[in-house]
Symmetry: C2
C-alpha cells in the first residue's frame, strides 16, 4: 500500500480518512430483565429488523434518548475529534433523524459526501436496549441505509483520501458487495489504502467468502476483534488465527479486550497490553475508538507499535466515559 | 377547590393529573465559553427563536443528544413515574421528533389527548446549550406548539381529572390566553383543581397581568420559584411576597433552591428545608420534579407538609442524577 505525501503538501480536497458505512441514529433505552425474552432477542446481539417490527419494538420500549451512532460513523467522528481530516459516505433521508445524523458529523468538520435522499425509506435507527448489567442488545432498522447504491460511489464522492474505512455491515445492503468493490477499485487508482472493519462475528459469518475475497483483493488493513478474526480465518482459537494470517499480505489490527491488541503485518508484529482502569463505565464504542486512534497514527506514518498505543489510549478513555464517541481534546493527555 | 373521590372509586376515564404545555424535544450539547457570546445569548436564559434562527444555531452547535423535554411535560412524566395516572395536552407534528415525544410520554402510561398534526410547523425543539460549569441556556423554537388552539380544548380532550397543571409558557402561544381560559372554565365545571406553573420570571414579566388575573379567577394552586413569585407579586424580596400573598385565596407552593420550599394557603403555612446532598450532579428539572412530588401528594389528599416533603424528596433525587426526569421506583426509598 502506498502512503501519500505529508499533510502540508496535500491539496485542500485531500483528506486523511474516508468512511463508508451505515448512517444510523441510536435510540437508547434501559430495559427490564425480561424485555429481551419478550421480543425474542439474544442478549448482546445485533439483529436487523424491518420497519413494522421497528415500530413494534419502539412501542414496547420505555422513554429513550437519541444520538448519532453506527460503528464506522463513530470511528470517523472520533478520528475527526482527534484532529484528523475526514469525510463520510452513508445514506440518510432528508428527515429529522437524517438532519440529526448529518448535523452531528458536520459539526465535527467531517465532509458529508452524499445529499440526503428526498424519498424512499426513512433514516435508519438502532434500538439500543441496555440491560441492568450494562449489556447492549441492538435491534436495527436499516431504512435509508439500504438505498446506498453503486451510483453513489464515484470518483467525486470518494475523492482523494490517504485511507478509506469500510464497515463489514455494508455487505448486508442490497448493492453492498458491488458498491464496496467499486469503492476499492477507485481507491486502488488513487493510491488510497483500504481498511475493512469486520463489524461483528455474525456479520463475518453471513459474508465470510466475500470478506475473504475482499481481504485478498483490495483491502490493505483489516481491523477486527478476536471473535471476528477467528470467524474470518475459520479457526477455533486466536493462536490458530495468527498462524492462518501468515498466508495474507494485509496489515491486521486485532483487539482482544482486556488482553490488549495484536498488530500483524507480514513478519512484523506488535503486541500492545490493555491499560488497567479503576472502573469500566461503558465498553460501548471501545473497538470503534481503538480503530480511530490506530488509523490516526497510521495516516501520520507512525510505527505500528505507536499506532497500537494510540488505539489503546483512545479505547481506554472511551470505556471510562458514558457515550461511545471520542470527545475532543483527548490527545492532550497522550504522551 | 373541591377534592374528588378516592382513586378506587374513580371511573377508568378519571385521571389524577392532566398537563397542558409546550411539547418539546430537547437538543442538548456542550458548548465552549465563547459560544453564548457568539450567538448573543444571556447565560441561563430561555429565548424563543424562529425556524431560521433555529437552523442557524443548530448548525453552529456541536454533536448533540436528543430527548423529550419541556417543563410541565417533565412534571407529568415524573408524576407518572411516581405511580400517578396522568394525561397530556400539547401539540406535536406527525414527524420523527413528534413520534419521539409522544412515544416517551405514552411509554410511561400517559394518555396523549391530541393527535399529531399532519401539516403546519414541525415539532418543537429546544437547543439546550450546556456551559462548562453546567449552566444551561435554552434557545427554543416552538414550532408545532404555537398551533395549540382553543379548538383543541374541549370537554373530551380535557376529560375528568383531579387536577390540571398549566404551564406559564402556554401564554406565549397565539391562542394561549384564550385556550387556558377555556381549559380553566371546563375544569371549574368538572371540579378539577387548576395548578399554574409560572415557568420562569421573564415569562411572568411578559404576561404579569394575565397571570394575576388567572390566579385570581380560576387557578387554585400556584407553583413557582422565588424569582417568579416576586415578579408576580411585584416585590423585591421573598418576605414582601409572603405579605402580598395574603390577599390571595390560592395555595402557593414556592421553591427556594437550597433554602427549601414554603407552602402557603390562607393562614396555613408549611416550611420545608432542603435536603443536604454530597454532590449536585445537575440541577436541571429540580423544580419540575418538586411539582411532580408535591402534586402527587396533593391528589392523594396528604397534608401540605407531607406534599412539600414529597416534592423535596423528588427534587433532591433529580439533582443527583444526569437527566431532568424522575426515574421509576424513586418512591421506594421515601419514608
Amino acid at each position: 500500500m502506498r502512503r501519500s505525501k505529508p499533510k502540508s503538501e496535500h491539496m485542500n480536497s485531500v483528506i486523511q480518512l474516508l468512511g463508508i458505512s451505515n448512517a444510523i441514529v441510536d435510540v437508547l433505552a434501559h430495559i427490564d430483565d425480561d424485555f429481551l425474552e419478550s421480543i425474542g432477542a439474544v442478549p448482546g446481539s445485533m439483529t436487523l429488523i424491518d420497519e413494522e417490527r421497528a415500530h413494534e419494538i419502539y412501542s414496547m420500549m420505555g422513554p429513550a434518548t437519541e444520538m448519532s451512532g453506527g460503528s464506522v460513523a463513530n470511528t470517523i467522528a472520533g478520528f475527526a475529534n482527534l484532529g484528523g481530516s475526514a469525510a463520510y459516505i452513508g445514506r440518510v433521508k432528508a428527515d429529522q433523524l437524517g438532519d440529526i445524523f448529518n448535523h452531528d458529523m458536520r459539526s465535527l468538520g467531517i465532509d458529508i459526501r452524499l445529499q440526503p435522499g428526498t424519498d424512499g425509506a426513512p433514516t435508519a435507527r438502532s434500538h439500543v436496549l441496555i440491560s441492568g448489567d450494562g449489556q447492549r442488545t441492538m435491534q436495527t432498522y436499516l431504512g435509508a441505509c439500504t438505498e446506498l447504491s453503486v451510483d453513489d460511489i464515484t470518483p467525486e464522492t470518494i475523492g482523494i483520501a490517504k485511507a478509506m474505512l469500510i464497515e463489514g455491515y455494508v455487505w448486508d445492503l442490497p448493492e453492498g458487495p458491488a458498491l464496496t468493490r467499486k469503492a476499492m477499485d477507485i481507491a486502488a487508482q488513487n493510491g488510497t489504502a483500504v481498511a475493512l472493519s469486520l463489524s461483528d462475528s455474525f456479520c463475518v459469518q453471513r459474508h465470510r467468502d466475500s470478506f475473504d475475497d475482499a481481504v485478498r483483493n483490495g483491502v490493505d488493513i483489516v481491523v477486527a476483534n478476536e471473535d471476528e478474526i477467528n470467524m474470518l480465518m475459520q479457526t477455533n482459537s486466536f493462536d490458530e488465527s495468527l498462524d492462518a494470517i501468515k498466508s495474507y499480505d494485509n496489515l491486521f489490527a486485532i483487539t482482544r479486550s482486556e488482553q490488549g491488541s495484536v498488530i500483524v503485518h507480514g513478519k512484523e508484529k506488535a503486541v500492545q497490553a490493555a491499560t488497567l482502569v479503576d472502573k469500566v463505565t461503558d465498553t460501548t464504542g471501545a473497538g470503534d475508538a481503538y480503530i480511530a486512534g490506530f488509523l490516526f497514527g497510521w495516516v501520520d506514518d507512525r510505527s505500528l507499535a505507536e499506532c497500537a498505543r494510540l488505539g489503546t489510549f483512545c479505547a481506554t478513555r472511551v470505556i471510562q466515559q458514558v457515550g461511545a464517541r471520542i470527545e475532543p481534546g483527548l490527545l492532550e493527555d497522550f504522551d
